[in-house]
C-alpha cells in the first residue's frame, strides 16, 4: 500500500487520492453494471452518497462556521419537491431521450438548489444576526413550517406527496455530484470567505475586529449550505421516486446531524464517511430484527463516549488538502477513533521492535 502511494508523490505532494476517485468510480460502475451487487445494496450505496452530500452541507454551517443548524431536512425537502415538480410537471414533455432527460434533470436539480438557497437567504438574514443556540431553534421551527406548507400546496400533492417521479439518480449522477460538491466545498473553505467562516467559528468578536462582516459571512455559508442540501434533496427524490411531507421530518434533520458528528465534525470527508457508515449500519444489522436499533444506538453512544471527535476525526482526503501531506501536528489535532487506534497499534509495534534490541544491549 505504502509502495503504491509513493508512486504518486510529486514535488512533495501526493496525488494518490486524485487517482483513487476515477478508480473508485470504475470499480463501483463495474459492480453495478455486472450485477455483482444486487439492487438492495446498490440503493444503499446511492443513499449513503446522497446522505453524504447533505451531511457535508451541514458541516459547512456546523463544522466550519461554528453555528448550529437543526433543519437541514427543510432545505432538502425544498430541493426535493421543487426539482421533482420540475421533472414531473414542467419538463415532462422535453424528457424524451436519455440525454435530454439527464440534461433537464441537472437543470431541475439546480433549480431545486436555487429555491432552497433562496429560502435559506430569507430565513438567514434575520436569524443569523443572532448568536448561539437561537439559530438552532429557528432552523428547527423553519423545517417544520416547510413540512406543513407542503401539506397544503396542491401541486405538491398535499399529504399524499408526489409519486412516480422519474428514477434518474443513477450511480454516475450521484457519484459526480458528490465529487463536485466536495470540490466546491474545498475551494470555498480555502477562499477568503471560507477563512472568514473559520474566523467566525474560532472567535466571532476577534473576526469582527479584523474587519469581517460576520453576519454577511454567516448568511453566505448558510445560503451555500442550503443550495447543496437542496441538490441532495433533489437527488433523493429522484432515487426514491416517491416523497411526501413526512419523509423530511425532524428525524431526517437529526439523522444528518448524527452522520456529521459520528463521522467527525469539521471535516467534509468525515461527514461523507460518517453518512456512509451510518447508512450501512442499520442495513447490515437487519438480520437482528428489532435489536438492530438498540445496537445502532448503543454504537453511537460508545463512539461519542470514546471520542467526541467522531470515528474519522478531522482528517480530510488528500485531494481535499490539495495533495499537501498532513504534518505531525495536524495528525495529532485531527485524530478520530480510527486514526488514534492505528497510532496506538503503530506505537506498540515500534515498542515491540525496540524492546529486543534494547535487551541485547544490556547483555
Amino acid at each position: 500500500m505504502q509502495q503504491i502511494k509513493k508512486l504518486f508523490y510529486r514535488n512533495g505532494k501526493s496525488y494518490f487520492s486524485y487517482v483513487m476517485i476515477p478508480v473508485l468510480f470504475l470499480v463501483l460502475m463495474a459492480a453495478f453494471q455486472l450485477d455483482l451487487i444486487n439492487t438492495y445494496w446498490q440503493t444503499i450505496i446511492l443513499l449513503s452518497g446522497i446522505n453524504g452530500i447533505v451531511a457535508m452541507s451541514l458541516n459547512l454551517i456546523n463544522g466550519i462556521t461554528g453555528q448550529s443548524c437543526l433543519g437541514q431536512a427543510g432545505f432538502m425537502s425544498i430541493g426535493a419537491y421543487v426539482s421533482a415538480m420540475c421533472t414531473k410537471l414542467v419538463f415532462d414533455g422535453f424528457m424524451t431521450s436519455g440525454f435530454s432527460s439527464y440534461l433537464f434533470f441537472i437543470i431541475s436539480l439546480l433549480i431545486g438548489g436555487a429555491a432552497a438557497s433562496l429560502i435559506g437567504l430569507l430565513i438567514g438574514i434575520p436569524s443569523l444576526r443572532l448568536r448561539g443556540d437561537y439559530l438552532a431553534i429557528i432552523t428547527l421551527g423553519f423545517s417544520e413550517i416547510i413540512r406543513v406548507a407542503w401539506r397544503v400546496i396542491p401541486p405538491a400533492g398535499r399529504a399524499m406527496g408526489l409519486n412516480t417521479i422519474p428514477k434518474l439518480s443513477t450511480l454516475p449522477m450521484v457519484f459526480i455530484s458528490v465529487v463536485i460538491v466536495m470540490l466546491v466545498l474545498r475551494n470555498f473553505t480555502n477562499s477568503r470567505f471560507g477563512r472568514s467562516c473559520i474566523a467566525v467559528r474560532e472567535n466571532e468578536l476577534a473576526g469582527e475586529t479584523m474587519g469581517i462582516n460576520t453576519t454577511r459571512i454567516k448568511v453566505l455559508a448558510f445560503v451555500l449550505s442550503a443550495f447543496i442540501a437542496g441538490v441532495g434533496g433533489g437527488l433523493y427524490a429522484h432515487m426514491m421516486t416517491f416523497i411526501n411531507p413526512d419523509t423530511f421530518n425532524q428525524i431526517k434533520s437529526t439523522d444528518m446531524v448524527l452522520y456529521l458528528y459520528a463521522g467527525g465534525v469539521g471535516s467534509f470527508s468525515s461527514a461523507l464517511l460518517g453518512a456512509t457508515v451510518f447508512s450501512f449500519l442499520p442495513e447490515v444489522l437487519r438480520s437482528l430484527g428489532e435489536w438492530r436499533l438498540v445496537i445502532y444506538s448503543l454504537s453511537l453512544v460508545l463512539i461519542m463516549i470514546n471520542r467526541p471527535k467522531g470515528i474519522f476525526g478531522k482528517h480530510e482526503f488528500g485531494f481535499m488538502r490539495y495533495g499537501e501531506p498532513e504534518n505531525i501536528h495536524m495528525k495529532a489535532e485531527n485524530s478520530g477513533i480510527l486514526s488514534s487506534l492505528f497510532q496506538k497499534l503503530a506505537y506498540r509495534r515500534r515498542k515491540a521492535e525496540r524492546a529486543p534490541a534494547a535487551g541485547k544491549g544490556d547483555q
Partner: protein, 385 residues
Amino acid sequence: MKKFLALLLALAMVFSVTACGGGGGDDGEKVIKIGLCQPMTGSMAASGTYSKQGVDLAIQQINDAGGLDIGGEKYTVELVVQDNEGKTDVTINAFNKLIGDDKVTAIIGTNSSGTTKAAGPLATEAKVPVVATTATAADVTQVGGEYVFRSCWIDPYQGYLAAKMAYELLGLRKGAVLFNNADDYSTSIKDVFVESFEEMGGEVMTQAYAGADVKDFKAQLTAIDEFDGEFIFIEAQAAEIPLPIQQIKELGMDEMLLGAASWDSELLPELAGADNIEGSYFISTFSPQSQDPLAVEYVAAFQEAYDNLPNNQSTMSYNAMMIIADALERCGTLDDPEALRDAIAATDIDLPSGHLVFDENRDPQVTGNVLTYENGTPVFIQTIS
C-alpha cells in the same frame, strides 16, 4: 483495545446465534419464502406486531396441513420479516432486501398507504406480487403497478357501505355529516358517503367540518341541530371521534350517530362514554362476533394462539397470506411471476371477513359488517356488501 475486541466478539456471537436460528430446520424439505414488511419498531410498532400474529397463524395452519401443494410438490412456507419502521425510505430498503437478497416469492405489507405507494413500483419492476394489509387510500394499487394488491377495502368503498347501511338497513332518509377537512382519509370517505347517500334517494342536509386539532365542536353541532335530521355521520380518525360525541350528548341532541371503520376502536367506549354511543351504528371490515363459520373458527384459533381477539390488522394480514397461498396452489408453478400475478387477480375465496374477489384495479370487493354499540361493546348485526 481489549474492550474493543470484547465488543466485536460479542457482536459476532449475536450474529452467529441469529444465523443458526435462521438456517436450521430444513431437512431437504422444499421451502417457499414469503416476505412480511411491516413497522416492527417506531410509532406504529403495535400494528406490525398485530400483522405478524395474523400471518404467523396463517402460516402455522398451512404448514400443519402439510404445506402448499404447488405443481404436485409439497412446500412448507417460511416467513421473512423486514422492519420498515413506518418510514418510506426504510420501506424501500426493506423491499429491496426482500426482493434482491431474501428472494421471496411474494410480499405481505405494508400497513400504510404512503409506504406502499413508495415501494410498490419496485415490486412491480421486479415482478414480485405484493398484498398490502391496510393501505386503504384509493390510488395505492394504481401507483404501485400491476403487481400490487391489497386485502383491505379502499376508503371510498367504506363511504359507500356506510351510506348503504344508513339508507337500506336503518331506513334513514335525512341527516348531517361531520368531518375533518384537514384529513385526507376523512374527506375522501365523506365525499363518497354524501354522493352515494343522495344517489340512493336520501338527503344530506348539511356538511359541517372541523380542521385538525379542533377541541370544541359546539358551533358546528348547533348548526347541525337546526336542521333536525335523523342522524349524524361522524367521519374522522379514531382519536378525533370521542370529543364531538360527548358534545352532542351535552347539547342534548338525539340524532342517531353513525360512523365508519374508525369507530371500531377498543378505546372509544371509554373515551366517549359508553352511554353516549349506546345505539350508534358503524361499519367495519371484520367483527370477531361475526357468526360466519369461517370467522368463528378463525377467532377461536387466534384466541388459542395469542389469548386475545383478532383485530382488523391481524385479520387483513391473515387474509393476505391466505390469498397468496391460494393463488400459489392454483398457479401451480414458482417460476412464472406473471402466472402468479394473474392467479392472485383471479382470487375467489371465502375468508374470515367474508367473500373476496379482486376488481380490475386489484382492489378487493369485500363484504362489510354492520355493528352497533350495546353497553359499551360492539355487537355484530349483519354483513353488508
